[in-house]
Assembly symmetry: C2
Homo-oligomer: 669 residues x 2
């Protein structure tokens, strides 16, 4: 984009020396780094219920228990991760930990998983944020058809976060604090008031007991209602179902990793502040998650993929293009149950949307940093290591925006369809980094290493088990994509590293002896005799007393003009005419250079190409680009140096009538 527009949208450049100062205190870091994990409460309970619904609503009662199990897992991971943050104050999370303790291959596996999960964080969070708005509109006006614009709204959200992030980190921190803290206040308010209503017997369910009985799970693949009574399920199928629900709820854990990766963005002492933030985060996340799961059950909320229609009604609705599922989030239903359709409910939905969309920002902070780390190690293109002029990694931001938008388009902005891809990578990272820590304690054997190794080892074991469960129960729903993508990425990273290694080897000065006394041939191309050519001829003469001029014979008229004026303007350069039977400029010159190189192996050929450069696009269109094409062709030849001598001219200058008359006179003869 033009520089001026760029400045308005993205802001003025920031000098490198300001870099160290762009670090955040806990109060500003919490909203940025914790919003991912916190906002996952907006869909975690819902995902548990969506999975349980396959066996009807009778199992909904175990939702809070599953939430508790997940909170226990969260505590284990957070305790384990605090040890990582303390050990790695400069940040990097599982990528750095794996690289440091397990070697490059595990590090690249962790890197690939993290990159994929950052992309999915953006896709899931913006989809869930837009789902909150869609639910709000539907909650207020059930006949609204806003759902059809879901994808457009999601993409607009991604664009918005992208622009915010191109402006840089500190400004983001300020912009994100207000909605994050509003979210906390409203959530705790809703949970507190809802629990009070429940125990005082005033909580009004959003669905009647009959509706709850009739609610069905709609199989998206077959379009049919799946209905199996839990009592009728085999013991294996029952276990599978509960594990499925548990795995779905584990999405609540995503986001812990990003604090460890971004430790360096915290104010000093960075480690301590990051660990403290992680602890606060765990408490907030656990209480909200449990509270919502509890209220979801008691307000008779249904997951958005539930349907209340009979199979016949569904078929009719499909034919008419109407929606068949409820499409309202569980949090929105809880809000309506607790607050009614009051201003508090509206405010909560809006703040939920904002916090979710801003949660995607976590990924925008972490993804480019990780890319830069990997690029610095040579496993990603070096361009990703470049800091933009506002101290943010522009290229990484663009890549993240592109792929998350792609995921949104493919999965139509539906959280429930994105979830199976999510979390598997996160748990893979958890496992790798904690495994790396175990290796570290075994190696360093510093004071108290046994306890530390046990903590990390237990965390490693738990997350590994959950990852395996996730991969199995979600395989058919989409986890298989991740099982393909992560190894493919790792292969690519290793290939890139092999290339950079090759380059380094070839550029190394070790044992290098510069070629001495190699002949240098200086040639200047003379397409015609005019002012634009003289400086190039002068230059050739000044570089070498042995320089020669080349003219490619394409136009006989021009050739004779060059020959005729040669003695006058040659400055002693000998002229060689190259024949071009097929009217090409490039081929004869390339052949000439090849002949020179054959006669004098190891020589360098310097080709001086004069080019007159008119100003403006109109004038540029009116001139051939044969000289440019020749320069590009020569650039790819070994041992050839191309010298461009531009001669700048104006597109339009006044030409007197007298001059025109003389031109006509000349043309006549």
């Amino acid at each position: 984009m033009p520089l001026s527009l760029r400045r308005v949208v993205i802001g003025a450049p920031i000098a490198t020396e300001r870099m160290a100062h762009e670090r955040l205190p806990i109060l500003l870091a919490l909203p940025i780094f914790a919003s991912d994990a916190l906002s996952s409460t907006a869909y975690a309970s819902e995902e548990i219920m969506a999975a349980l619904l396959q066996a009807g609503t009778s199992l909904f009662n175990i939702t809070p228990m599953l939430a508790l199990a997940i909170i226990v897992l969260l505590s284990i991971v957070v305790v384990s991760y605090r040890q990582i943050v303390m050990a790695y104050p400069s940040g990097g999370g599982s990528y750095v930990v794996a690289g440091d303790n397990l070697g490059p291959l595990p590090a690249q596996i962790a890197g690939a998983s993290l990159l994929v999960d950052y992309i999915l964080t953006v896709a899931v969070s913006s989809s869930a944020g837009i789902a909150a708005i869609v639910s709000l509109v539907k909650g207020l006006n059930p006949s609204s058809n806003i759902a059809q614009y879901t994808v457009h709204m999601c993409l607009a959200a991604v664009l918005f976060i992208t622009l915010i992030n191109l402006r840089g980190a500190k400004e983001s921190g300020l912009a994100f604090a207000l909605p994050a803290y509003s979210f906390l206040v409203l959530m705790y308010g809703m949970i507190g008031y809802g629990v009070y209503q429940y125990f005082s017997g005033h909580l009004t369910p959003v669905h009647s007991a009959v509706d709850l009985q009739n609610a069905r799970y709609l199989n998206e693949n077959t379009g049919r209602i799946a209905f199996e009574n839990f009592g009728e399920l085999s013991r294996f199928a029952g276990l599978f179902l509960i594990l499925h629900a548990f795995a779905s709820g584990c999405t609540a854990l995503t986001g812990v990793e990003s604090i460890a990766t971004g430790t360096q963005a915290f104010k000093e002492p960075a480690s301590k502040n990051a660990a403290k933030t992680m602890g606060i985060l765990a408490v907030l996340l656990g209480t909200i998650f449990f509270g919502l799961s509890f209220l979801a059950v008691h307000s008779h909320a249904l997951p958005p993929n539930a349907t209340l229609m009979s199979p016949a009604a569904i078929e009719a609705a499909h034919a008419a293009g109407r929606e068949v599922t409820l499409g309202e989030t569980v949090v929105s239903q809880i809000g309506r149950a607790v607050f009614g359709t009051s201003l508090l409910y509206i405010g909560m939905q809006i703040v939920t949307c904002i916090i979710l969309i801003l949660a995607a920002n976590t990924a925008f902070a972490g993804f480019p940093r990780l890319c830069a780390l990997q690029a610095g190690d040579g496993f990603l293109p070096r361009q990703l290591a470049n800091i933009g002029d506002r101290l943010v990694y522009n290229n990484g931001i663009f890549i993240l925006a592109f792929f998350s938008a792609l995921a949104i388009i493919i999965f139509k902005g539906d959280v429930h369809h994105l979830i199976p891809l999510y979390a598997i990578g996160v748990f893979l990272c958890f496992t790798i980094s904690q495994g790396g820590m175990v290796r570290r304690w075994l190696r360093l054997r510093e004071k108290g290493w046994q306890l530390k190794a046990a903590v990390n080892g237990f965390g490693c074991f738990c997350t590994f088990v959950v990852m395996i469960i996730f991969a199995i129960v979600k395989f058919r729903d989409g986890a298989w994509i991740i099982v393909i993508v992560i190894p493919a990425l790792v292969f690519l990273f290793l290939k890139i590293k092999a290339h950079y290694r090759s380059v380094a080897k070839q550029l190394s000065l070790e044992g290098y002896r510069p070629a001495q006394g190699a002949q240098q041939h200086v040639c200047v191309l003379v397409p015609d005799i005019h002012r634009g050519v003289i400086p190039a001829m002068q230059l050739a003469r000044s570089i070498s007393s042995d320089a020669r001029a080349l003219h490619v014979s394409i136009n006989p008229e021009r050739e004779s003009r060059v020959r005729a004026r040669w003695t006058l303007y040659s400055r002693g350069l000998p002229l060689t005419i190259l024949e071009s039977p097929f009217r090409s400029l490039t081929i004869p010159v390339v052949e000439y250079v090849e002949r020179l190189q054959k006669l004098d192996p190891g020589c360098t050929v310097m080709m001086i190409i004069p080019e007159f450069e008119p100003r403006g696009w109109f004038a540029k269109l009116l001139h051939g680009h044969a000289a440019f094409a020749l320069a590009v062709r020569l650039h790819f030849m070994q041992g050839v140096v191309v010298v461009n001598v531009p001669y700048h001219i104006e597109a339009f200058v006044p030409v007197s009538e007298e001059e025109k008359a003389r031109e006509r006179e000349l043309a006549r003869h």
Copy 2:
């Protein structure tokens, strides 16, 4: 396209020396140059009737009379044009004649008109050719819906001719002779047999007398039937109608110009051969045109835009998406009347299609030649004057193909809609060139100049009157587009000329004194110290003992590496470190150059930029292009010469385990 594919489709290159031999004898030139004019008989009679139909079919009887009037006009033009061909053996037609006798502005007006008409020739001829095929299919199977593919078929035809023409002129001549002569044989056969049937009373009309009575003109703009009995028209409206029909028929004259433009493609004596060809053409064209007009009336043919439906039936058909007009060409109807749906009828339609599509080839011969002439004079971009490697003007061919395809798409491949744009430019050219000839005879006053001037003057007058008629009666139907486009093109041509004049003035060596003794500063960019940089440093040293090295400080690590190794590798070059607070490579270098130029006005700065160039797209993606961006930026600065020193490296080379281990060791410290 890749070179090998290009060779298969277009053929091997042809050397310049073969150019003079690519000239055609009359028997081969006639099909190429006359096919345009001849093939216009396929729609000229039809266009007269389509215009007359506005007052019902009662006026159809005057069609042969109008044809006769047009043939008289044709004779006048051809006699007048033979004088042009004789006077200008090297070709060029009205463009050259106008430039030679009337000055540059009339020449450019003629050039603009001709270019537009070449484009329309391609559009009209291919549309009419496809109409012949559509008519054939409909004639054999009235319920066919082939008409909906009209535009696709037209575009395919244009693509086909484009490829034929990219192969070069002589091969075209051979390929076009057979269909052209088959067309003549079949046409004369049909006319002869039809006239015999008519006079022996055996000609079976294709439409009954009742159908003929009920046939109506469908106004394309309103979608309604226009029906006015001629007897009810005012005298003015009646005259307007007949002039309209006359103007429509004048499309038969298009194509005469192209022989004059392409005289140089004839075998020597070119003038005589071209004049002879023109005479033959006039006789062929006149007899076929009159014969078809005569048979059209007596076989009760109706123009394709006629409808036999009632207004109510039309509305119903529109709603159902069915066609309402007949959509069969007049020639196809004559063919069915004379031959029945026999093999002869089928053959005639196919040959008509081929000759029409090949007629477009006339334009493909003339358009690029005219472009090259105009480009040679400086009124079109010089690239259009370049002959491709098969001795044809590739760029002109591409432009013609593009714009004619555009016209086909805009006017949906409908001949009747394209005709109002056509012919106005042709008659403008006729007028200008004949006017130029009058001026020539007045100037030269050679033997018999009075008669010659009278012939050309009369031709000039007649075509001028027809042009004015055409512009008035067809203005609303589309002629207004041409009235806008031609002046716009002329303006563009003059602007281009002004630019080339400016360039010539600025490049002229008249009064030029080379700057003597101006300082030359040689700088070499050193982004790092490695093998890729050393050759550039060597070069700088060899060019000037006063050369200096520049390092832009973006990465502190690299800066310290450069400083540390400098003494070892500097070769005596002094090192200047340029600060870059915003991490840009370009800005500090540009600022440095500007400082140099300020301190030493008039100096030349030579900037040597080393660049390592890895092989393959994968490797190229993995390297930044900051050096390239810098080179481009410097290229646009006055007084700066950019020297690119590429260092070629392989994308992948084997790296031993030992080397990897050493690399890891180095990274650790």
